[in-house]
């Protein structure tokens, strides 16, 4: 495989491919480095190999940090191992585009993953790498979606799992974690408290915390969203991507995926403009962007978009840099705008997203209203999770008429269209 070593993003110190995530010299984050000198430069062959691979993220194994390649038998059978993620639909959203005065909008619906969020991509990679490294127990600090995914992957692979969540998480996300038989721990505090606790625990336990000591591998999984978008667009780049920001890892790694394929020649053109989306109740990156700062000041989150409620975003500085150098930006929207975003996406595309997708859709609407998107642009909206997980956000947003089971009652009661 092309994976080579770990490297500090700050001081460039090199480390072996182990369960390490912090540079001992400068405390910077470690990142996976690849050596593609032996990867085929026959682009036709490379594309055919990807297209002939399994219908999941393992079709991109050449670009993922596994020493032994994808799990299980080679080729298409690999798609049947564990809990395969990826190959989610990219939907052309003409009705949404029309509503916003745009020409070409696509919705990447990552709710169509095994546990209904993009987290299955990163967890698949982290857990497979954890097995390669000999770990028997997986763990995570989560705002909910990651909890679902780690618990489910533990069940699918027969590994013990420990999942740490803020105790006040949405009921749907708690239920959709515990059912897999994990050790579920509710922590009395915010996600940032959970994260701090897990960072301390990580030093005390021989566990693979997917988003702590396995984070360099975990984060690589997000690149597969970029690979899929490009492949689904016929090996072309979009002009702009709208992506939610919590820690900033997804946002930066989608761009990294495009960059890797540009470097190899699999894609041509410029990196898309990258627009980050946050909720006003937790917008450390958007605030730093607006203020012209290159680091984020942590905040105490208070928003209905709990899956984005990270007040102390690890990749904040890199997200800011990316937004600036690609001509994108980082915007924040209110809880009411988030609810309206969920509704707008549902009514125009048939995709029901969770609050994070409401944030992303609302930011798209905001950019369109401000005239910041050229009508000729090809825009991709990255929808990361499922509406059924955050039902409280839409409760009361419409009305159901109850009638007697007669034609007369229908004619009398529902002759007008049901509206909000």
């Amino acid at each position: 495989m092309a994976v080579s070593h770990l490297q500090c993003k700050e001081c460039k110190a090199e480390y072996p491919l182990e369960a390490l995530y912090v540079c001992e010299q400068c405390f910077g984050p470690l990142e996976v480095v690849y050596d593609h000198s032996r990867t085929s430069r026959d682009l036709g062959e490379l594309r055919r190999r990807i297209q002939g691979g399994p219908q999941n993220i393992w079709r991109y194994a050449d670009f993922l940090p596994l020493a032994g390649g994808p799990p299980g038998p080679s080729g298409r059978l690999a798609s049947r191992v564990g809990l395969p993620a990826g190959c989610t639909p990219l939907i052309r959203a003409d009705r949404l585009a029309e509503r916003l005065g745009l020409r070409e909008v696509w919705v990447k619906n990552d709710a169509a993953n095994p546990t209904h969020s993009f987290k299955d991509r990163v967890v698949s990679v982290a857990v497979t790498r954890a097995r390669e490294l000999g770990f028997e127990t997986i763990a995570c600090a989560s705002t909910g979606n990651l909890a679902n995914s780690v618990a489910a992957h533990g069940a699918a692979l027969g590994m013990d799992s420990y999942v740490f969540i803020p105790a006040d998480l949405e009921e749907q996300k708690v239920l959709a974690t515990g059912i897999y038989g994990t050790n579920l721990v509710g922590v009395d505090g915010s996600y940032d408290d959970v994260n701090r606790l897990c960072t301390e625990l990580c030093a005390e336990r021989e566990w693979a915390f997917v988003n702590i000591n396995l984070r360099p591998y975990y984060a690589e999984g997000s690149k597969t969203l970029a690979f899929e978008i490009a492949e689904q667009l016929g090996w072309e780049l979009p002009d702009r991507c709208i992506v939610p920001i919590a820690s900033g890892s997804l946002f930066t790694k989608i761009a990294r995926g495009f960059e890797e394929w540009l470097e190899l020649g699999l894609l041509e053109g410029d990196l898309p403009s990258m627009n980050g989306a946050q909720a006003e109740g937790c917008s450390p990156v958007a605030s730093a962007y607006a203020a012209g700062h290159d680091v984020c000041r942590p905040v105490k989150p208070s928003t209905i978009a709990k899956s984005l409620a990270i007040g102390n975003p690890a990749d904040g500085p890199y997200a800011l840099d990316l937004a600036r150098r690609t001509g994108g930006g980082v915007d924040a929207v209110s809880d009411d705008e988030i609810r309206a975003g969920i509704k707008l996406l549902a009514e125009t595309t048939g995709v029901f997203t969770e609050t994070a997708g409401g944030v992303t859709t609302a930011v798209l609407a905001k950019l369109a209203a401000r005239g910041e998107i050229d009508p000729d642009e090809r825009v991709v909206l990255v929808i990361t999770g499922e509406g059924l997980k955050t039902l409280d956000a839409v409760r009361g947003s419409f009305e159901t008429r109850t009638i007697a089971p007669t034609v007369e009652a229908f004619e009398a009661g529902v002759s007008r269209p049901v509206s909000v």
Binding site: V22, D192, N195, R196, N211, P298, N312
Partner: protein, 91 residues
């Protein structure tokens, strides 16, 4: 004021393997200065040239990020616990 400073695994090669150490100081800054005096190598690892903390270093006083308090000037109480942790986790 006597304060317990918890040192993360990634820095223990610079602290002679010590996981925690007890230091005196009236503010977070004074405690960290004491830490750097005791383990000189730690200074360059977690501070910038201008003496501020590097951007991927989080410091917590009794579990609270010092950026929500008064930063390095936050007063510390006797027996308090100061925890240094990497900021690159999570998400």
């Amino acid at each position: 004021m006597s304060v317990v400073v918890k040192i993360p695994t990634q820095l223990r090669s610079a602290s002679g393997g010590e996981a925690e150490t007890v230091l005196d100081g009236a503010t977070v800054q004074e405690v960290l200065d004491g830490l750097f005096e005791r383990f000189e190598e730690l200074r360059a690892r977690i501070s910038d040239d201008d003496g501020s903390l590097r951007r991927f270093v989080n410091v917590y006083l009794a579990g609270e990020d010092i950026r929500f308090l008064d930063g390095l000037q936050t007063p510390v109480k006797d027996g308090a616990e100061l925890t240094i942790l990497p900021a690159v986790a999570g998400g």
